[in-house]
Symmetry: C2
Subunit: 300 residues, 2 copies
């Protein structure tokens, strides 16, 4: 049996997990990233190092972009040494970045014009699930894209939601997830800030809320960062400046009001302007004045 | 063995569940409510009907108030035919309404001045858990109040959080839970509204979000009401006009900003002013213009 070749562009926490999962699933995984050291490290694990997306495309019929945003997606596909010019007709691009739905729609058309298939496929679940091949994918695209993608999706994701046969629906569902995620992180910060202001024990408050109707996935996941005073960025404040920005841009196109998203976006921008943009997104609590946050000392 | 007497004032969905749970736990349960028919119905189940809180207080050393707000709490305790004047010194009042923490503190002092113990004890969990004796209680108060309350709490709650020895902490944690609950309901509505506006399938969106990081207890619980077009008020829009109002009043006392709570409060007030105040709180989605909500036809 010959191994199928697949390319992964972008070896951040998610991309590296995807690359390893695909390798474990039996694919020959070609990788590239602006950081040469992570590319070489993955090559030492049995992957194939590529100097550019164009060089990867010469060897792969399926290329997965796991970069941060639309701008980077544009660069790795259409930029100097981008993948598209080198991909054979009939090849498939799977786009995992969180991007504006309109960008996903246009990208699908631009790739179709080159004879390439596209799957709009944002991902969710975090680095641990990516490493385990158990991510969630929010996908949409034409039937032929799904046909080509089938084995690769099975190798990288635990759950693949198929949201329709047109591009953009995957990205719409992803940004709606980000709307809720962003509002919930900001609400978690607001609730914990009020508790601290009112002299409620922060650990007890976390315990009660996580067992009550006020709970959210984000409250449960992010508030421990605040309690432990650990603002190491697993996902940064500036990611939500970007993602809630995409949410608001999408709604603005049809002049649709999103009062909570707009408020949460302002909170993340306030945190970023105050110098916390590269800290963990739970650092949005630092915008609240007049409270004393838990300190690292004395915590596990 | 003689049965201990305990009184429950207010036989709404929560109060009736509490009364039945206590009866099942072996208490002789005395009840009163402004609606005589529910009092008589409970008497037919073996309870003791009381014509007024004062008449209840003559027979009970423990009285539990399960009314809607501070105003009703005031009336049943201190109003005409209120319980307090008739309670024997050393008796205990357990206050379950969601009230301002400052009201709970003052109430504790006023009852202490009469020789009565008070437990600040808001409840959470909904009617089904109340009926099963499995509610969550967020409590605070002095040690002697807990001593007197012990058997009753065990008979009515699955989980009793003890948040400190001063009144108000229970109410503070409860309103912080309501802050999150209210923001999450409004955010659920905003997210579903954007999905509908963008042509995303509403059922698929619910399925994806409930398995993703954007999930919340309220999203999972309330969005099915929207999908089924069933706005029967399990908890009404006007409850969150009140509860987020309490949250904001509490923060205003110390001039503390709560941007998301303030925004969500405006959304519930907009829904109430538009005529949806007595509908289910998920009806806050009706403030979003330019979308077509799911209809009841064709749904299970």
């Amino acid at each position: 049996m010959t191994q199928s070749n697949v390319g992964v562009i972008g070896l951040g926490a998610m991309g590296l997990g995807i690359a390893r999962s695909l390798q474990r699933s039996g694919f020959k995984v070609h990788v590239c990233d602006v950081r040469d050291e992570v590319v070489q490290a993955f090559a030492a694990e049995g992957g194939v190092a590529c100097a550019s997306p164009a060089m990867m495309a010469a060897a792969c019929d399926i290329v997965i972009t796991v970069v941060v945003n639309a701008e980077q997606t544009e660069t790795v596909l259409f930029g100097d040494q981008g993948a598209v010019a080198a991909l054979r007709p009939g090849s498939l691009v799977i786009g995992c970045a969180t991007v504006a739905p309109t960008f996903a729609v246009e990208l699908g058309q631009r790739l179709a014009d080159k004879g390439l298939a596209y799957l709009d496929a944002p991902i969710s679940g975090g680095a641990a699930k990516a490493a385990a091949g158990q991510m969630t994918m929010m996908t949409s695209g034409p039937a032929d894209a799904y046909l080509k993608a089938e084995a690769v999706l099975a190798g990288m994701a635990g759950k693949v939601y198929r949201l329709g046969d047109v591009h953009g629906l995957g990205s719409k569902v992803k940004i709606i997830n980000q709307l809720l995620a962003g509002v919930h992180i900001a609400a978690s910060a607001e609730a914990m800030a009020l508790g601290l202001r009112e002299g409620v024990d922060a650990d007890a408050l976390y315990e009660v809320i996580t067992h009550s109707a006020g709970n959210s996935w984000m409250f449960e996941n992010r508030v421990p960062h605040i309690l432990n005073a650990d603002y190491t960025p697993l996902s940064a404040v500036d990611i939500f400046v970007k993602d809630l920005g995409l949410v608001l841009d999408t709604a603005r196109t049809s002049k649709f009001p999103l009062p909570l998203s707009a408020t949460a976006h302002q909170m993340f921008m306030q945190a970023s302007s105050a110098g916390f943009g590269r800290e963990d997104d739970s650092a949005v609590i630092k915008i609240f004045p007049g409270i004393e946050l838990p300190k690292a000392q004395g915590k596990e």
